[in-house]
């Protein structure tokens, strides 16, 4: 398994048009990203198409990675997750927002300090989710991993739309407090 420095290096070389680096990046990360596509879409053929979109996007947007402030795996995971969810929603013709651009827009350059904070948050979310009530953390997980919208969550928990919105927002603030501890 390549470490994050390697992966960051591959992305940087992809930005310069280095196809060998693209191949190395594919070898290092495709299984992880395919696992995510497969989990979200639950269908092998669709997951394969999604993974193709993911790597096409990685190659084309590699030059933007350097300024986007995300750690390399987060950037890759976010692309895989968002493109898969977009596909899933297109299938469901749901009304959630398109996520395709989300990973492009985080163009803050947080510097080493913020990156260190971000790194320390990794692994914490599981503990912090455990501090939420079970259905609240379940809702966060469903939104992230299954692309469920407020409406779908409201239907799932049989509560009015505004109620689900209110309690999920509260949960997100709680989660953030825990993550920032």
């Amino acid at each position: 398994m390549s470490d994050l420095k390697d992966i960051e290096g591959y992305i940087a070389r992809c930005a310069l048009g280095d196809r060998d680096a693209f191949s190395l990046l594919y070898s290092a990360t495709s299984a992880k990203l395919f696992g995510i596509c497969l989990r979200v879409l639950g269908n092998r053929a669709e997951a394969e198409d999604a993974l193709q979109d993911v790597f096409v996007k990685i190659w084309r947007n590699a030059e933007r990675y350097q300024v986007n402030g995300l750690s390399p795996m987060t950037w890759l995971i976010t692309i895989a997750r968002n493109l898969s969810i977009d596909r899933l929603r297109a299938r469901k013709t749901a009304q959630g927002a398109g996520l395709e651009e989300a990973d492009d827009l985080a163009s803050a350059s947080p510097g080493p300090e913020a990156l260190a904070i971000a790194a320390s948050e990794r692994g914490q979310i599981v503990d912090c989710m455990a501090e939420l009530e079970a259905d609240k953390s379940d809702a966060v997980r469903r939104a992230y991993l299954m692309g469920e919208t407020y409406q779908e969550l409201a239907d799932r928990y049989s509560v009015p739309l505004n109620t689900v919105r209110t309690w999920l927002r509260r949960s997100l603030i709680k989660l953030k407090e825990c993550l920032s501890r």
Binding site: R19, F22, S23, Y26, S30, A31, K32, F34, G35, I36, L38, E48, L51, Q52, F55, V56, W59, N68, G69, S71, M73, T74, T78, R81, I85, Q95, G96, A97, G98, L99, E101, A102, L105, A106, S107, A108, P110, A114, I117, A118, A119, E121, R122, G123, Q124, I125, V126, R141, A143, Y144, L145, G147, T149, Y150, R169, L172, I173, L175, K176, L179
Partner: protein, 229 residues
């Protein structure tokens, strides 16, 4: 107090955006804020980092072997000589059977195409299993390439594209087989006409209308060397 509630709004909005919970209109508005507000970007990046770790529980799954080639073909085309020649793995046996193929071609004799003046080049473009056979005849005089398909039909909704491979060069497209026709006549450019004598003709399976990349993207269905009649 105002600061706190502002911060809470920022936290919630960036989380909702990262989770994809905003409506399309809200998401666009949030992206406008993101593009000008570094604190909001940092807030979003922080959520993205945290949420990405939710995928730690997802086990890696090796994608099918062929997918990487599909992706690199989509991105880079099949311009690399090596990868193209490797797809022509069955060319050698075809070349081996060259003499026989030419004799068969002459006997099958697309005689209606034959001309008396000048040299004429021919090729039998044939699939390994003979599921597709195209007889081709090239007249350097008017650079016309006349072809007759004697076996095989294109897959519904797909096109067949004709390629010329000269020596080690990457294949160049001579055109897409006209839909629904058994015979086709193509005019070959002067540049490519000069390469015809020692060339190899190949037919690939492509999306309707032909390869989007300028290089073969689908399976190579049939190949045949060009020879002087």
């Amino acid at each position: 107090m105002t600061d706190d509630s502002n911060t809470e709004d920022e936290i919630v909005l960036s989380a909702e955006y990262a989770l994809g919970l905003l409506t399309p209109g809200e998401a666009v508005a949030f992206e406008d804020v993101l593009s000008v507000d570094p604190e909001m970007r940092e807030q979003y990046a922080s959520w993205a980092e945290s949420l990405a770790t939710l995928t730690d529980e997802i086990a890696p799954v090796d994608p099918p072997k062929a997918l990487e080639a599909r992706i690199t073909d989509a991105l880079f085309g099949v311009s690399e000589k090596r990868s193209f020649l490797s797809r022509l793995g069955f060319l050698s046996p075809v070349l081996g059977g060259l003499a026989a193929a030419v004799i068969v071609l002459v006997v099958l004799g697309q005689t209606n195409f034959m001309r008396d003046d000048g040299p004429t080049y021919v090729a039998e473009i044939v699939a390994e299993d003979s599921s597709l056979i195209v007889q081709a005849q090239f007249n350097p005089e008017d650079r016309s390439l006349r072809m007759t398909r004697t076996a095989g039909v294109p897959i519904e909704g797909r096109s067949q594209e004709l390629w010329l491979i000269a020596g080690d060069a990457a294949p160049v497209s001579l055109g897409v087989w006209p839909q629904g026709q058994v015979e086709a006549v193509l005019e070959v450019s002067a540049e490519y006409a000069s390469l015809m004598a020692d060339g190899v003709l190949a037919i690939s399976d492509e999306p309707q209308g032909g390869s989007p990349t300028g290089a073969p993207t689908g399976d190579i269905l049939a190949v045949g060397p060009v020879t002087l009649l």
